[in-house]
């Protein structure tokens, strides 16, 4: 169960709060009707809770004034982008103010000389990527939700994507942040200059799930787009062969830009909906992509295909052009949507393990599915060991839902025990609060609490998320 919290009675009445907010932001952008609030009560997770008010500021100054109000009145406050969060990070469990950044969606500057882009948090990830690509540059982090997710949300969650093995996660591409602190103070940390003395606050803020401040401006790192890309698709009779190929490629000294895998369950779902021509009798497909300078790439692609063959591949294809490349990718990009059409709901576990543990962990995940009578599809970032078992179910079936939660906890325990972690790119949010004890002890959690306290002593910033309140072993009944 999520952590339940109710606002104290002596806190400001919702009506007065709304009136005060209307003095800060154009009243048109202060939302409080029942329907409006219902629309902001959920994200892409299974959690729900209704805020007191939703506000859509247009500037840093407005955000600072909203924050000052929240600070004075001790009202919970949390930021929200497109709501694609998968762990309940954007659910206002304690009510209060939801700050929706959709109006702060301007690309302020693309500075190719300094390899940076300066953006407001509401900019859609793909929009920025499309813009910089026109100038021959690339912003590397590419979460699957890039068509809808915002860059502010990516920063809040430290989003990953298929390219992380080679290029790192969002935090490796953030150079500077403008932050509104808990008391309304606006600070700038980092900047276009790549090295700034002092604590790495940007490093700490990225992935802090809105618990340390509200980000109002971001300086992103751009890179020159690679000259060449080669994409391959390999089809396997067993998942193990696919997973072993992944380790073997890296052991040969090749670090591909992407190593993505899908199992039979997901391939079937893809074929039922978007039809990209996957063989339904195969156990797994692996998408391998190399990028960089064209010199030596043909040789490396040949070597990769040879490694596939050594690992019993049934068939391996190399895309000859951009059109073929898009076909190879279509299935992967549409996988989550396709699974959504098989059963009404799915829960995506985001456990991550050291790459070499993939074969054994995957077979145990399948076991867990059998044990709880739940279909589990696997579509995952194999290169960085980031699993995404999709547990498919019907949310309306209470019994099934309970089994889903149990299975998910067990899968995360499995990942933690294999030397991995409970979340690779989706965050802890509400959903994995209890599971934090699989990887942290109380001393570790105390440190996190101290950090949070330094930023937000009154706990108004996205309360109830990321760090469990009570000793978490207790909560899990361990």
């Amino acid at each position: 169960m999520p952590v339940e919290r109710t606002r104290d009675k002596d806190k400001m009445e919702a009506k007065e709060l709304i009136d005060r907010l209307k003095e800060i932001v154009d009243p048109e952008f202060v939302l409080s009707s029942e329907m409006d609030l219902a629309l902001y009560s959920y994200d892409a997770s299974l959690e729900k809770a209704v805020p007191d008010v939703v506000v859509l500021p247009a500037s840093t100054e407005e955000v600072a004034r909203i924050m000052t109000l929240a600070h004075e009145e001790k009202v919970p406050i949390l930021g929200r982008g497109s709501g694609t969060n998968l762990t309940g990070g954007t659910i206002p469990v304690a009510g209060g103010i939801v700050v929706h950044f959709s109006r702060m969606n301007h690309i302020l500057e693309i500075d190719t000389a300094n390899r940076t882009a300066t953006v407001e948090p509401g900019v859609i990830t793909l929009d920025l990527q499309t813009e910089v690509m026109k100038q021959g540059f690339i912003y590397q982090p590419d979460p699957a939700s890039q068509k809808v997710s915002t860059l502010g949300g990516n920063v809040g969650e430290n989003s990953g994507g298929p390219h992380c093995l080679k290029y790192g996660v969002t935090s490796n591409h953030i150079l500077g942040l403008e932050i509104v602190l808990n008391d309304g103070t606006v600070i700038m940390t980092g900047g276009k200059s790549r090295e700034n003395p002092g604590y790495d606050l940007a490093g700490l803020l990225v992935g802090s799930e809105g618990t340390l401040g509200l980000v109002t401006k971001m300086i992103l790192k751009l890179e020159r787009a690679p000259e060449a890309v080669k994409t391959m698709l390999a089809i396997y009779e067993t998942i193990e062969d696919g997973a072993n190929t992944v380790s073997a490629i890296i052991a040969e000294g090749i670090v591909p830009a992407t190593l993505e895998m899908m199992d039979n369950t997901v391939m079937r779902a893809v074929e039922e909906t978007i039809k990209v021509g996957y063989p339904l009798d195969a156990a797994a497909v692996l998408i391998i992509e190399l990028d960089g300078m064209p010199e030596g790439m043909d040789e490396k692609a040949a070597k990769v295909m040879e490694i596939c063959k050594r690992n019993n591949v049934r068939e391996v294809k190399l895309a000859k052009n951009e059109a073929e490349r898009n076909i190879l990718w279509a299935g992967r990009k549409g996988a989550f949507g396709a699974v959504g059409q098989v059963r009404p709901s799915y829960l995506c576990c985001d456990g991550t393990v050291p790459r070499t543990k993939l074969p054994e962990v995957l077979s145990q995940v399948i076991e867990i599915g059998r044990k709880y009578h739940l279909p589990i599809g696997n579509v995952f970032h194999a290169g960085d060991g980031n699993l995404h078992p999709l547990i498919m179910f019907d949310e309306r079936d209470e019994n099934e839902l309970q089994r889903v939660h149990k299975a998910s906890t067990e899968i995360l325990k499995l990942c933690a025990d294999a030397g991995g972690t409970i979340s690779g790119e989706h965050g802890v949010g509400l959903e994995k609060l209890r599971e934090t004890c699989f990887i942290f002890n109380e001393s570790d959690l105390d440190l996190e609490r101290s950090i949070r306290k330094a930023f937000d002593p009154d706990e108004i910033l996205n309360p109830g998320k990321m760090i469990p309140d009570e000793p978490c072993r207790q909560a899990l009944g361990l």
Partner: protein
């Protein structure tokens, strides 16, 4: 004093005669900015570090952590100093996992030992080491039957520095152009906080968003938030081919035109280092390159697949010609390693020759580099100060080494004024200037950490919350944290 040492000794193993040192001769070697500690502690593991820090916190003793000492000249002079905690006995490689491209080591393990451990069966190693034996002990090891890996860092003093010191100081070098910063390769950390608690964060996976990214907070925190004990870092496969191209030019304008042209291409060099003649000559005489007076050298590191290195070399040689290079040379794999090791050891070499050296690291927007390197050099020459200048083109970093002796009083005074101007210059270019080394007596007159930004308010809050007794490296960090 006796009591002090007894308390410490009692904590650690009583029979362990190397655990605590209080003899003056030894203590003097561990001075921090001229201050001598009351005792030295050499813990054997994380637990012992925790015990020592817990006691220090109770007693209010100020601690400064120490690796191999290569970065101890950094920072403000400490407000006070009781204990130096030395990590040299914490030299275990806990987990060498080349299949997953990660390594977990204790903080006292030397950078060179890590690279030696990751060498191939054929002894290909990222550092040019003739002796691949390591001082470090291993708990979990894998054999050397992999294709070779390396730790993609390019720290100052690569030959002696410990990994704990490198990460605490966030030490970087020219090859950050390709491999990024220490913050980008750290995956997990275990450290002892100022109250003596063992804290952990992160793990072995590249992707990890479970909890705050405390590893990044600790990198570059200069021992002000705790003592790093165990670090998990990302490895990369050893580059298939490694070569260096050296080109000399008659002027900074020509050298910078070439370097800029290289940076603008889609080629992926590992480093493009521009240095003045003074700096190049101090590297040693192993490289035969004709450099005109007032001339500059551009050194380009190429670390990639064979075919890519071949192409980069060809194109850059051509570009060098177009930009009026005077002389050029290319170095094969072993010399390549030796050259960049010499670059990383340059500061140490200069420190030995110039007792009053001031070393400054300027950062700024990368596009501004031409507007920094020449004007900064000019400020120094106008003040009659000889200077070895190196700049990482494409990364926005320039290092100035002002070559003075400690007894040159006027030069020192001039240098203090010049550094103020250099700071203004870098601030105007969107950056800052950090003094990496200066004689203790003039440190108080210099702005060691440059200008403080609006984010200092949060740094202060963090320090107060995590180290309320101010025992961890008190006063040494930014704005006296």
């Amino acid at each position: 004093m006796k009591d002090f040492a007894d308390k410490l000794q009692a904590l650690l193993d009583k029979g362990d005669r190397d655990a605590v040192k209080t003899d003056e001769g030894v203590l003097e070697k561990y001075q921090v900015d001229g201050m001598t500690p009351k005792a030295l502690v050499f813990p054997k593991n994380t637990k012992q570090v925790a015990d020592v820090v817990k006691l220090a916190n109770q007693e209010g003793w100020a601690i400064v952590p120490w690796g191999s000492g290569s970065k101890m000249a950094m920072g403000n002079p400490p407000d006070r100093l009781d204990l130096v905690v030395c990590t040299s006995r914490m030299n275990h490689m806990l987990d060498v996992d080349t299949d997953n491209l990660t390594i977990t080591v204790e903080a006292g393990v030397k950078f060179r030992d890590i690279q030696a451990r990751l060498a191939t069966e054929e002894d290909r190693c990222y550092l040019p080491l003739e002796d691949l034996k390591t001082e470090a002990n291993e708990f979990v090891c894998s054999d050397r039957s992999h294709s070779g890996c390396f730790l993609p860092l390019d720290p100052v003093c690569a030959g002696t520095a410990t990994i704990g010191g490198i990460m605490a100081a966030a030490s970087t070098g020219p090859r950050r152009l390709l491999y990024n910063m220490p913050r980008d390769i750290i995956l997990g950390v275990r450290f002892v906080g100022p109250k003596g608690d063992i804290r952990g964060s992160g793990g072995k996976t590249v992707k990890n968003v479970s909890g705050y990214d405390v590893s990044k907070l600790m990198v570059g925190s200069m021992g002000s938030l705790g003592i790093l004990c165990e670090l998990t870092l990302k490895l990369l496969p050893l580059p298939e081919s490694m070569e260096t191209l050296l080109l000399s030019f008659g002027s900074f304008d020509e050298a910078s035109a070439f370097a800029s042209a290289v940076i603008e291409t889609q080629l992926l060099p590992a480093a493009v280092e521009v240095m003045n003649k003074e700096a190049f000559e101090h590297l040693g005489s192993d490289w035969s390159l004709e450099v005109p007076d007032e001339g500059y050298v551009v050194a380009v590191a190429l670390e990639a697949f064979k075919e890519a290195v071949h192409r980069m070399k060809n194109e850059m040689v051509k570009m060098g010609k177009q930009n009026g290079r005077k002389d050029h040379d290319s170095l094969g794999e072993y010399d390549h390693g030796a050259f960049w090791l010499a670059v990383s050891e340059l500061s140490r070499k200069l420190e030995k020759s110039y007792s009053g050296i001031i070393r400054a690291k300027l950062n700024y927007r990368i596009s501004e580099w031409k507007n920094i390197v020449a004007p900064a050099s000019k400020i120094l020459s106008e003040n009659g100060l000889p200077c070895a200048v190196t700049a990482h083109a494409g990364s926005g970093i320039c290092q100035l080494n002002v070559l003075m002796d400690r007894n040159e009083k006027t030069a020192m005074d001039n240098a203090v004024g010049a550094m103020e101007k250099v700071l203004d210059l870098s601030v105007q270019a969107g950056g800052n200037t950090v003094i990496l080394d200066a004689p203790a007596e003039i440190k108080p007159r210099l702005k060691i950490w440059g200008k403080t930004g609006s984010d200092f308010v949060v740094m202060k809050r963090l320090k107060e919350e995590l180290d309320p007794a101010h025992i961890m490296s008190p006063g040494r960090f930014v704005a006296g944290l």
